[in-house]
């Protein structure tokens, strides 16, 4: 356990070094969030009642999404891992006296978290100061405030566990770009990154809730803005827990199979 913690620390501290980049990122995400809200405002002006969420809830959702973007961004991968696989330096990784899956998992968590730590506070702070329907509000209820952090953690684990599957797929494809972009586009959509899941048509939503992707960013944010009633929130979190376990088991199993067959190229 200790060694994984120190892997986490190294990566986390390394990630904290990119401060100028973080400021640029904050500005970008702030502009992005603002434009999204203006866009939805135009839609809401054309017909309030047609939409499943109140406008202030949607604003909170969007700001949360921007603030914690790095935790759930699907297009972000640690290129070092892909390089290990494609260049053959995976051999050194295998020599280390620790479990490859856990090591990569922890490293991934650390990079993503370090980015969030640098970025979330300024975004949330400014968004909280914006006038009423456009800013981020406090959690919808005490219950929401209590459940939100747990759900956030679970969603994060689902996200990382899923991205592990993409890394492992590189053992088979060698050139990972194709798989990556394919997975990215579909996942972003199904996770509610393009459009929040409540906005999807009725016939599609049940399908989406049955997939692991709705258990990533969607559940915690909807809990936060109070879109889920108490029962639904707990149900959503049970789903999250299920997917964490299922995806980790899948990933470990698949990796062991891949490692048995791995051929280290070159010398």
């Amino acid at each position: 356990m200790r060694k994984y913690l120190s892997f986490f620390r190294i990566r986390f501290l390394a990630g904290l070094q990119y401060r100028a980049a973080a400021w640029a990122g904050i500005a970008t995400q702030f502009a992005w969030g603002g434009m999204s809200i203006l866009m939805y405002r135009a839609f809401y002006q054309s017909g309030q009642s047609a939409f499943p969420m109140e406008f202030s809830q949607l604003s909170s959702y969007i700001w949360m999404q921007q603030a914690f973007l790095a935790m759930f961004m699907v297009w972000f991968y640690d290129n070092e891992i892909f390089d290990h696989i494609t260049s053959g330096s995976i051999a050194y990784e295998l020599c280390r006296p620790c479990d490859l899956y856990s090591m990569w998992f922890v490293k991934n968590m650390a990079i993503r978290l370090s980015r969030v730590v640098l970025r979330c506070a300024p975004i949330l702070l400014v968004a909280a100061l914006l006038p009423a329907p456009y800013g981020v509000t406090l959690p919808a209820s005490l219950e929401a405030a209590l459940l939100f952090p747990i759900s956030m953690l679970l969603g994060f684990l689902v996200m990382v566990a899923f991205s592990m599957l993409v890394y492992i797929s590189a053992f088979y494809t060698i050139s990972p770009n194709g798989v990556r972009i394919l997975v990215t586009s579909v996942l972003e959509f199904l996770a509610g990154g393009v459009l929040p899941i409540p906005f999807f048509p009725d016939w599609l939503r049940p399908v989406m809730y049955a997939l692991p992707f709705a258990s990533m960013q969607n559940t915690p944010y909807l809990i936060y803005v109070g879109h889920f009633a108490a029962g639904d929130a707990l149900g959503g979190m049970v789903m999250q827990l299920f997917w964490v376990i299922a995806l980790v088991l899948m990933g470990k199993g698949w990796m062991n199979r891949a490692l048995k067959k791995v051929v280290v190229q070159g010398g």
Binding site: Y18, A20, A21, W23, A24, G25, A27, T28, A31, W32, M35, L38, M39, A42, F43, Q45, S46, G47, A50, F51, T173, S175, P176, N177, G178, V179, R180, I181, L182, T184, S185, V186, E188, F189, V194, L195, F199, F200, P201
Partner: protein, 258 residues
Amino acid sequence: MKLYFRYLSMLLKSQMQYKASFFMMVVGQFLVSFTTFLGMWFMFDRIQSVDGFTFSEVLLCFALMLLAFSATECFARGFDRFPALIRSGELDRILVRPRGVIFQVLTANVEFSRMGRFAQAILVLAYAIPTSGIVWTGDKILTLTLMFVGGLGVFTALFVLYAGISFFTIEGLEFMNIFTDGSREFGRYPLSIYGEGVLKFLTYVIPVALFQYYPLLYLTGRSQNQGLIFLPVLGMLFLIPCYLFFRFGLRKYQSTGS
């Protein structure tokens, strides 16, 4: 020019080496913008129009933006990798070759997989052109063509600006995404829906509205002012300051060594 096509065919051949990966990229590119399209469709499933624009009219906007952006990105992709060229010192090698820098950057990388997005744009356009209720007379066709050309100009200018800024800072570059990717993402709706302030900014500072919103007004018959047809050409003047800025950066450039 001949050299340019030599480069093109070389790049195409090399990208076709990983065939499965290449086709997955094309499909992936298609899907990226297809999900955006679905998102728009689901929103319009709930209401008739936004800010007075119907779904077909918005689709026209979306297709045009995507067409211009993907075409630019396909050929000007090299600029995207410009910061990497500076960091690795590769730029020094480019500078000593007997061809222009811009030319070499343009030929350094052409991303053919962007065709996926381009194809999508054509499909949406093919749907939107007949359903938009516009009578396609000569002047309307000219407007649409100029919108596309203007889009090419403005997006190319933005990529050049991006490369120019990378002479001064590499870390801060992420902010430029709001102008490049942001224009594509938010330009799928007529820019007036974001309110007066945003529209003014996108008219006078980054002239995206010049090839999108104003000609669209003429195209959809909201305005009869024929001067609007030629605004995209005015927008292309944006290339000049961006190019000058790039030259300025290049003159200041000091190699990273190694």
